[in-house]
């Protein structure tokens, strides 16, 4: 169970994250939504300590990971896998080595410097790639792959960490709709079948609604919505996105292919009853 208690991140003049308290049970798939700058990314990065909180506790498995250091911190990071918007793979290394880097924590200095991975780890990595249908690219350089392929390799890297929790920081923001679907499907499969908690930052409402059990909405560093996806009404969405536009519909942010079948949304700037709003 992941517990955030009063977590804040203050910069000199701004509060990127302001007193967030949230409890996430094991096995949940949570989507965090909000506009750019709402604090989603900062919050996620504080969980695995790529950024340090200025206040608050982050408890997982009885430990306050907000304050741990050294080997303990590295251990936590190995148990808490993260995938990134820009994939963060090592471009010039091949795919299989990229996936194997997920096992780095379990190696001593010499064996990680010399890339001495055991055959069991290698087989495990191949299996992970296979689950993402990327096993055939194992010997290719990572930067020769498309965005969607790279993200799947990143997910394979997360899998070989045998993580207890998987964080995804805008995993589909740089992907086209088809690849986005593949990646989100993979995340949901991992959540359902491997029983791993998944927390994703998303910037489309329909993705959140479609894939996540629970949605947390953030605005200006605070949590303004926390509930099941079904509770996410248009009113709530407006509060999260601070939409002052008269007509705000989900389709405006949708990258979902299924949305193509629905009638087109009203243009931004005109209300449904035909009144012209300020542009």
């Amino acid at each position: 169970m992941l517990e955030l208690k009063g977590v804040s991140k203050h910069f000199t003049s701004t509060k990127a994250v302001d007193d967030v308290s949230v409890t996430i049970d094991d096995g949940q798939m949570v989507g965090i939504i909000g506009r750019s700058g709402a604090g989603k990314s900062t919050l996620l990065r504080m969980i695995n300590r790529l950024a340090d909180p200025t206040a608050g506790e982050i408890r997982f498995g009885g430990q306050d990971v907000a304050t741990i250091k050294g080997r303990q911190l590295l251990n936590w990071r190995s148990e808490c896998a993260m995938i990134f918007q820009q994939f963060n793979l090592v471009g010039r290394l091949d795919v299989i080595t990229n996936v194997l880097t997920g096992r780095i924590y379990h190696h001593g200095f010499a064996s990680s410097m010399l890339k001495l991975y055991s055959p069991a780890e290698r087989a495990f990595a191949v299996h992970a790639l296979d689950r993402l249908t990327m096993a055939h690219t194992a010997m290719q350089r990572a930067d020769t792959l498309s965005g969607g392929q790279q993200q799947r390799v990143a997910i394979a890297r997360a899998l070989v960490q045998e993580p207890k929790i998987l964080l995804a920081d805008e995993p589909i923001a740089s992907l086209d709709p088809l690849n986005a679907k593949v990646v989100m499907d993979a995340l949901r499969t991992i959540n359902r079948e491997d029983k791993i908690t998944v927390v994703c930052n998303l910037h489309t409402l329909d993705t959140a609604r479609k894939y996540c059990d629970r949605v947390i909405g953030m605005a200006a560093g605070k949590v303004v919505f926390d509930g099941p996806a079904s509770d996410l009404t248009l009113e709530a969405a407006r509060a999260i996105y601070g939409a002052d536009l008269g007509d705000f519909t989900e389709e405006m942010t949708s990258t979902d292919l299924d949305a193509l079948g629905r009638p087109p949304a009203a243009a931004i700037g005109t209300a449904v009853d035909g009144q012209q709003l300020a542009s």
Binding site: A120, E121, R122, V126, M139
Partner: protein, 286 residues
């Protein structure tokens, strides 16, 4: 096949099966073999070199070495150190570097044009000039210094000549390359106003190349200040001769002091040169 979720769920049989299906992923590819071979040959070479060049001697430091090490850190009788000579030597080194670079730049200004493809069309002449410059460059500055010390005696004159000759080689080549890389349109513009060859050079070419010339010469001034110290060690004047003198007199602590001063001098020159660059060339270099 059910997906493998944990490392422990893998069986030996499974590992073997995966291995035979994906041999390259297990580090047996030709590429990784070549890489291992390359690294192995590096280590084999180093082992050979350690023996061939008798590296073991490092671990048996002689009497001398111990004396040296001790003296480097214990500075004694600092009043007797004859600071005047040291700073005179530094001034001499600076003078050598400055004069040598300046004179070489003057000559390169002329020779650079002679070696540029767009100025001198006559190939044979240009190539001869280039070969002579290559010889000047090819012989190291220190070697020139040795030769000039033999020819004109110990002292800074030999040093200036060494810097002068070797830099004529390098600077002329660099200047001629700058001239060859100019923007033709500017030259055409001047020519079309009816200017003769000299005026064309003066107004069409020089404004483009002078900043590059200045930049190169400044770079070499810095570099020459550093190398002028080495020239002194073979007798061509400057602080290097003071270093040798003190070294031969076993005054190692003074040698360390002088070297520190040289390092500071080089840092100052780097700073001054950066200021000059920003002012006259508008460069924001490092």
């Amino acid at each position: 096949m059910a997906p493998v979720r944990t490392l422990s769920a893998l069986t030996e049989a499974d590992i073997a099966a995966t291995r035979s299906a994906n041999p390259d992923a297990f580090g047996n590819s030709r590429k990784s073999l070549l890489i291992y071979a390359a690294w192995a040959s590096v280590f084999v070479y180093l082992a050979f070199a350690f023996i061939y060049f008798d590296f073991g001697r490092i671990f048996e430091p002689s009497e001398n070495a111990q004396r040296l090490l001790r003296a480097m850190f214990r500075w004694e009788d600092m009043e007797t150190w004859q600071y005047a000579n040291i700073y005179r030597g530094i001034a001499e080194t600076l003078a050598m570097a400055f004069l040598g670079t300046f004179l070489a730049s003057l000559v390169a200004l002329v020779v650079g044009f002679l070696a540029a493809r767009n100025i001198v069309r006559f190939g044979l002449f240009r190539h001869t000039v280039r070969r002579i410059l290559d010889v000047f460059r090819g012989i190291d500055q220190l070697v020139w210094a040795l030769v000039f010390v033999r020819a004109v005696g110990l002292g800074p004159l030999a040093g200036v000549l060494a810097i002068f000759i070797s830099d004529i080689g390098t600077l002329s080549k660099l200047y001629s390359e700058a001239i060859e890389n100019i923007d033709r349109k500017q030259v055409e513009g001047i020519r079309s106003t009816g200017a003769g060859p000299v005026r064309t050079i003066r107004f069409g070419i020089l404004p483009q190349v002078l900043p590059v010339f200045l930049s190169q010469s400044l770079y070499f001034l810095e570099s020459n200040t550093r190398s002028a110290t080495s020239l002194g060690i073979v007798g061509a004047g400057g602080i290097g001769m003071i270093i040798i003198e003190r070294f031969r007199a076993t005054l190692y602590d003074q040698v360390v002091f002088v070297v520190i001063n040289v390092l500071i001098l080089v840092a100052i020159i780097d700073w001054v040169s950066k200021k000059i660059r920003m002012k006259f060339i508008g460069e924001v270099g490092e």
